[in-house]
């Protein structure tokens, strides 16, 4: 091969590698990972639609006490999907460390901080991309009032995605054993989305679930998304709860991840 004409990459060549470009590269990588297997997305979207129409219509017919259950349930389903897709990043990160792919990523000339930001961003954005078609259907069903309420709803969902991504990363980098990791993450996912007002109002829940649900980030997101879409006043409480959730877990996830990467604990 005519490799003799190729110059060795000088380190100064890389000075132009802007930080934001590297963050975006990392984010893009995580986004493309999720969309590599389109049939999963298609089948899950179909399942979502079927579930929404068949199941929810049936239920809302039965639940006479709560006539607005269908739109309630529809919005909540979207919120649940955002949460569960956001959880996947933890599995990705855990698997990467197990397979050694992480070692490779760590040799790339990207500062650890940008690496982590890129991943959290990628995890959240891909959950949003994944959910947007479902969200569009639901928003139309909901007769959303204006574009501002649409934006507010998307913001709620995005905050939830970001926070859950952070939570998932936190668990992925703090639990060592693969078995325990799967269990912990699955339980958390279950707790966070089932013990929430995503699919049923508080009044319909068993008391022990109802006691937990008000603190679930999925509750914050579900309530404020519903408020936004229905054009009623902004759900300040829900939004504040979401912001706190994002700040805490994104912060924790980034800190733990950073320590583990720089400390060579993955070693």
């Amino acid at each position: 091969m005519s490799s003799s004409t190729i110059q060795v990459t000088d380190s100064s060549d890389l000075s132009g590698q802007s930080t934001s470009r590297l963050v975006l590269q990392m984010a893009r990588r995580d986004i493309s990972t999720l969309f590599r297997t389109p049939w999963i997305i298609i089948s899950r979207s179909l399942a979502f639609i079927i579930q929404l129409f068949v199941f929810a219509y049936l239920i809302s017919g039965l639940v006479v006490k709560f006539p607005g259950f269908f739109p309630y349930y529809a919005v909540g389903s979207v919120v649940s999907v955002v949460a569960s897709i956001s959880f996947i990043i933890g599995y990705d990160i855990f698997e990467e460390a197990e397979e050694g792919l992480l070692d490779y990523l760590l040799t790339l000339p990207i500062p650890r901080r940008e690496f982590i930001i890129g991943r959290a961003l990628g995890g959240a954005v891909r959950a949003m991309i994944y959910t947007i078609p479902m969200f569009a259907i639901v928003a139309v069903l909901e007769n959303f009032s204006n574009s501002l309420s649409l934006m507010a709803a998307i913001l709620d969902l995005f905050l939830l995605a970001f926070g859950v991504t952070g939570l998932s990363i936190t668990v992925a980098v703090s639990v060592r054993s693969a078995n325990r990791f799967d269990v912990v993450l699955a339980l958390l996912e279950l707790a966070v989305s089932r013990a929430s007002t995503a699919l049923y109002p508080l009044a319909f829940m068993p008391s022990y679930v109802a006691a937990l649900a008000p603190f679930s980030p999925v509750t914050f997101a579900a309530d404020s998304t519903r408020a936004a879409l229905s054009g009623s006043s902004l759900d300040i409480l829900g939004l504040a709860g979401l912001l706190a959730f994002v700040a805490i877990f994104l912060g924790l996830g980034a800190t733990f991840y950073f320590r583990r990467l720089e400390g060579g604990v993955y070693a």
Partner: protein
């Protein structure tokens, strides 16, 4: 220049690398030769900022790897021992992404480099085959190609020809030499004598996490006493009388591993009958005698007291 200054890495209670000091010159190929578990990979991953040294210092072109990890990363490219490629991607995408992350080449230049290197190793036709469907050898080539395409200032290859067939090995060696000729500093870890000997400008022998010897292959062999080696197989379970051989001034050293005795000597041809006679008189049963030039294998044995395999 790369400097290891009493560098060490401890995993729990195991010292994978211990008090390791050496200097790697610019634009040389340094072979790290040692058996599995010697600490070669750990050494290179510490240099590559993946593992943090637990003691000592490592500097790359004057930059401490702990203090300036980001600057160090910009200079290094590592081809891992076990290919670290995203299985669902094809070779083309793996390499293209690697270059995206490690160079500032524009799309055209990047794809051109990827194409050249894939054609060179005969993987162009398989460029879109998912790497998880590839054979071990193909995947290993893709891993090596990352660094061959990146052409970093410091190129690290961890056992670059494991799983490769003979023609591919020779080709890989040629491409690694070209990289050096163009100005890269190259570090190659290997547990294969011939690879260390034929590829490296200098060889560092590593055993149990420690540097045992470092020099040009010829020098290492020269230092290993006399330049000739007599290999004897003696009767099983026999106590071997060392001193009756060390009495000869031409005999530099004698080592024994089970029933294999290695005698390092100068002027061996003349001494051979005398040695056989002496041993026979002492009642040692000699099953086989083999006289040969010193190889790195002998150097290794001489320094560590055991064979590489």
């Amino acid at each position: 220049m790369i400097g290891f200054d009493k560098a060490g890495k401890r995993f729990g209670t195991l010292d994978a690398v211990k008090e390791f000091s050496m200097t790697i010159q610019d634009e040389e190929i340094l072979g790290l030769l040692g058996p599995n578990g010697a600490g070669k990979t750990t050494l290179m991953l510490m240099m590559g900022t993946v593992y943090r040294p637990t003691s000592g210092k490592i500097s790359v072109n004057g930059l401490d790897v702990v203090q300036h990890p980001n600057d160090v990363r910009k200079m290094i490219g590592i081809a891992f021992q076990d290919p670290r490629v995203d299985g669902i991607l094809g070779a083309f995408d793996v390499l293209n992404w690697h270059l995206k992350m490690t160079t500032n080449l524009d799309k055209v230049e990047r794809e051109d480099r990827v194409e050249k290197v894939l054609r060179a190793v005969d993987l162009w036709d398989a460029r879109n085959k998912r790497t998880w469907l590839m054979s071990g050898g193909m995947r290993k080539k893709v891993e090596d190609c990352k660094v061959l395409a990146q052409r970093p200032k410091i190129a690290v290859f961890d056992e670059p020809t494991a799983f490769l067939d003979v023609p591919s090995r020779l080709l890989m060696w040629k491409m690694i030499r070209e990289l050096r000729d163009e100005g890269s500093t190259v570090i190659v870890a290997t547990n294969m004598m011939d690879e260390a000997e034929r590829l490296s400008d200098r060889v560092a022998i590593v055993n149990l996490g420690k540097l045992v010897a470092i020099d040009a292959p010829e020098q290492l062999k020269g230092k290993t006493k006399g330049g000739e080696v007599l290999e004897l197989t003696v009767g099983n379970g026999q106590e071997f009388p060392r001193e009756c051989l060390t009495q000869f001034s031409e005999v530099q050293d004698v080592s024994q591993e089970n029933n294999k005795v290695t005698v390092y000597l100068s002027g061996g041809r003349l001494l051979l009958p005398k040695i056989v006679e002496t041993l026979t008189n002492r009642g040692v049963k000699i099953d086989s005698v083999h006289l040969k030039e010193v190889t790195l294998e002998d150097v290794f044995l001489n320094y560590t007291g055991h064979r590489l395999e």
